[in-house]
Amino acid sequence: MLRGDNEIRTKIRRFILDHFPAARSQPLLDEDALLGSHIVDSMGVLELVTFIEAEFGITVEDDDLLPDNFQSISRVAGFVETKSDNRPLHQDQ
């Protein structure tokens, strides 16, 4: 099932707000730096990766672990959308 960009962003935003207290200290914008501003800490980044894999049914490969893909909510959403589009279709789909 294809998801809209907005729906993906909303789910990622909710996850970040629920799991990382630093994200709740000020309004969280789609373009805010997640790592540089310490909204997501060292240990939390694995939680984020695990979440998007489970929630959106994608696999984050080693080569996907690039700053561009995880810089902000927008970037994560864009990455999820790209991975979803490129996901191989099984015969029953």
Binding site: L35, G36, S42, M43, G44, V45, L46, V49, D62, L65, L66, P67, F70
Partner: protein, 298 residues
């Protein structure tokens, strides 16, 4: 005119022995390694680093605090002893009375409580565990380091080698400034010396590709390696964020969790790189790679 290149193999063949990843150096190579370490100690004075000498082993419990055994189990060299419980030593002595003994079975060993370090700077965080710092710390230390690897090459990859580090623990801004300073300083020195190098983002050799610290290293440029001839990492500049501060409960002078970073030099790799590039005669090495006479005598 650039100095004539001396093949390292020729230099090393005459002055080293490598067996099971253990490197023995002799004569001029020992002196060259000493000179290089003197040079790095001199470079540590830029930030007024205090030299420390820590114990050569670290406790399992200390390193476990830093997730060491889930992050780097494949590198670890454990320290054990003959099981001291009643009758065990006698049993071991009876079994070991032959000159061709090559290994000691686990039935004779006590559980390992200590580890030989695979990097020097753990000792700093262990030493300052639970402390609030009055000011930013700048420390330099030389440590023998041990890493089990799948293969060994003299001067490039050994099981046992030496690492000189300069470490900063303090506020985030201080650590970032420290790392930026050394990154530029090293570029300048290596360029001035004519040592061919590139700087590359890198990750540590974590056992698990999903180790959170490995992921964060891929997503943020936390580690930069200085690669001799594009492939051999002879120095690295590492930002740990506040990982060690959190794990070892170290606070900066304002009471916040401390940040840390380090600059690391692999002495045997520098020895390899410099002898390859400049030859075995230290007097012919370029000035930026020679410690000042005053540093050499301290």
């Amino acid at each position: 005119m650039p100095p004539e290149k001396h093949p390292p193999v020729e230099m090393f063949e005459e002055n080293f022995d490598l067996h099971d990843g253990l490197l023995t150096l002799k004569g001029p190579l020992v002196e060259l390694r000493r000179q290089l370490d003197t040079l790095f100690r001199e470079w540590a004075t830029i930030v007024g680093a205090v030299e420390y000498s820590f114990p050569p082993v670290m406790s399992v419990s200390s390193l476990a605090s830093a997730d060491y055994f889930s992050s780097f189990p494949h590198l670890a060299t454990l320290v054990s002893r003959i099981d001291p419980s009643e009758g065990s030593v006698e049993r071991f002595v009876r079994s070991a009375r032959h000159p061709s003994l090559e290994q000691i079975g686990r039935e004779h060993l006590a559980a390992a409580r200590y580890v030989l370090p695979s990097a020097a700077c753990y000792a700093v965080y262990i030493n300052f565990r639970g402390r609030q710092l009055e000011e930013d710390l700048f420390i330099t230390l030389l440590s023998p380091c041990f890493r089990h690897e799948t293969g060994y090459e003299a001067g490039r990859r050994q099981w046992a080698f030496h690492m000189r580090e300069i470490v900063c623990v303090g506020s985030e801004g201080s650590v970032q400034y420290f790392l930026d300073t050394y990154r530029e300083f090293l570029k300048g020195k290596m360029r001035e010396a004519g040592l061919p190098f590139t700087v590359a983002e890198a990750t540590d050799p974590f056992f698990d590709k999903r180790d959170p610290r490995r992921i964060i290293q891929r997503l943020e440029p936390l580690k930069h390696e200085f690669l001799f001839n594009g492939s051999l990492a002879i120095a690295s500049v590492n930002f740990h964020r506040n990982f060690f501060g959190e794990r070892f409960r170290i606070r900066d002078r304002t009471g916040m969790v401390a940040y840390s970073g380090c600059v690391a030099f692999g002495l045997e790799r520098w020895l390899f790189a410099c002898t390859q590039q400049f030859g075995p005669d230290w007097s012919l090495w370029p000035a930026p790679l020679k410690p000042s006479p005053s540093a050499a005598t301290t």
